[in-house]
Symmetry: C2
Subunit: 357 residues, 2 copies
């Protein structure tokens, strides 16, 4: 057993600079994720703080500002677009429904603010391209894949890169949850194609196994195939109450993935190579104890790493890179590949054939 | 914790009769599996014995008979077809290459012998149908799915049937091994389409997640989609050094599966339902300690069951059913569905579209 490897499992390998002015955030879209995960992460952080909160609902914005440690300014969406309080924040975090991202990105870019945009970065490839165009060469843009700063995922990526499991051959990845148990009201944006994009499960959950496989393999999709089904009444507007999809990556690796908004909360990621495998389970939900397993030539090690606050890791990474003028990963072009792939998955499920990217 | 459930985990729920005349087997095809797994299982069993061994090679047959406890008669394939030693065996076990099964089944049926035929039951649907026709109404036929008598799989099937995980939504299943490490000579039948059927990984390994999902769900495939790749020189005659495939079952469940003959030895099965999930890992290789996990409404139990000798379970079940005049599961029609599905998987991978069954 390698005690040093254990003690360094959670290291921030991206961190060089430990002291800089906090990045002041305007938080846009004040749903439960922003209120309960994102804002608390910035309050915990030495690198970030929430100074402005932005909502479509003036009262909600005021309440969230009131409840927060540092947010002194509450503005509406309209006021934000009109340039309110631009001297009070350095960056925006956008966590509105998918199809509402691009206008906020465009305004933020116009104001010269760095952008941290939730994934999937938009509802359609056309709108995602507008995000790339608004930011490229103008302001820093990062798509908020919290798996990219999750230590278990970074360790898996390092092991694959150094050839620990040989050549990757196969990936399995799944993510499912009971959406209607989490949000008892079925009238919600994830089930509304106008707000979510072409579907509910692959867009919102399937993006985790898809993108994390891309990140761990350091490879991009070249073709996809998918099956989907919606039987439940709450899912009548979307094709994917449950879906499976296969991905062929440009390094030849094949992935077998699944997603469902109407199943037990469950997730796993497994990368099988010619000489070994690495797996993480549960993989994709935050605030869970993860089991990280590595097998090489028949010998297996299991690690249960210390939990990190994934949103704190993500916000701190973003602030660190912005303050040290470093590139951000994932950038808009990386996020756009996912949007194109997600759409190809829905197209494949609809037409019953492989779709090339 | 339920101590009684633990002590009964490995129970033979099919067993009613504990005392009967042993079924005497002619073992056909004396590769390592027959020599090291099947014949030893019959020697361990009170219900079975190997009395005749049959090989294409007279000397090999004689050597195997010599090394065995009860086999007194060694015959060649030709002699078998000519009816040699028919008074010395009650049943045949057929473990030749896939494309050599049907002729032995036809001879055995002609001699009135019960048939235990390895899976996949043949190389093509046409030849599999000949097996069904030769046996149906004539002699007992069972296709040798050792997962069907593996206690961990039977417990998973019971839990799904009683609704413990709610409605099944998703299955993940994988099986991979390094074929060329096991058999260093690449000139072997699994890589030869004339002997194996359309491919190497899905036919030989993919059948495990496919069939075990069928068995655990008690459902049959209605459509499949697949991706495959062969890069390695040893795999130049088959399309599937590695493959992924999706299956839509007639109960609506979707499965994401994979198979590779050039990857780390690995296997897992996971069935996710609306209220919970059941998983087995490693799932499909024999002589491994399995981790059996059940999660219901957020509470998770892990069981590491006592290992059984899977071939002993399978042979004893077969003998028990034959001696008590009970139906055999899986019968030929069950096996034929797999052959048709496996061929549809290869067809899907070749033509890049969903194939209905």
């Amino acid at each position: 057993m390698d005690a040093r490897a254990l003690s360094e499992f959670g290291r921030r390998d991206w961190e060089t600079d430990t002291d800089h002015e906090p990045v002041r955030f305007a938080m846009i879209g004040l749903g439960w994720w922003t209120r309960e995960e994102a804002i608390p992460a910035t309050e915990e952080s030495d690198r970030c703080e929430t100074t402005v909160v932005v909502s479509g609902d003036r009262d909600k914005a005021a309440d969230v500002a009131e409840a927060s440690a540092n947010a002194e300014t509450a503005v509406t969406y309209e006021e934000f677009h009109d340039g309110a309080a631009t001297d009070e924040y350095d960056a925006v975090y956008i966590a509105t429904p998918n199809a509402k991202h691009v206008e906020f990105v465009e305004s933020a870019a116009e104001f010269g603010k760095a952008v941290l945009c939730e994934k999937p970065m938009e509802a359609t490839p056309e709108r995602a391209r507008r995000i790339v165009e608004a930011c490229e060469g103008e302001v820093p843009l990062m798509v908020a894949y919290r798996m990219h700063t999750e230590p278990a995922v970074r360790r898996a990526r390092e092991l694959v890169a150094e050839g620990a499991i040989g050549d990757p051959m196969l990936v399995h990845g799944s993510m499912s949850q009971d959406l209607l148990e989490i949000f008892s009201n079925p009238d919600q944006w994830r089930l509304d194609p106008d707000l979510s994009g072409p579907g509910a499960s692959v867009m919102d959950l399937g993006i985790y196994p898809l993108n994390t496989a891309r990140f761990v393999l350091d490879a991009d999709p070249v073709e996809v195939s998918a099956l989907a089904r919606s039987d439940g009444e709450a899912f009548s507007d979307v094709p994917d109450e449950v879906a499976t999809f296969e991905v062929r990556f440009d390094d030849g690796t094949l992935a077998a993935c699944s997603a469902s908004q109407n199943a037990n909360r469950s997730s796993h990621l497994k990368v099988v190579g010619t000489d070994g495998e690495v797996s993480i389970e549960p993989a994709f939900f935050d605030r869970q104890s993860r089991q990280f397993e590595l097998e090489v030539n028949g010998t297996r090690a299991a690690v249960e790493p210390e939990q990190v606050d994934q949103m704190l890791e993500e916000f701190d990474y973003f602030a660190h890179q912005v303050r040290t003028d470093r590139d951000l990963y994932a950038d808009g072009r990386h996020g756009l590949v996912d949007i194109e792939t997600l759409h190809a998955i829905y197209e494949s499920a609809e037409q019953g054939s492989v779709v090339e990217l």
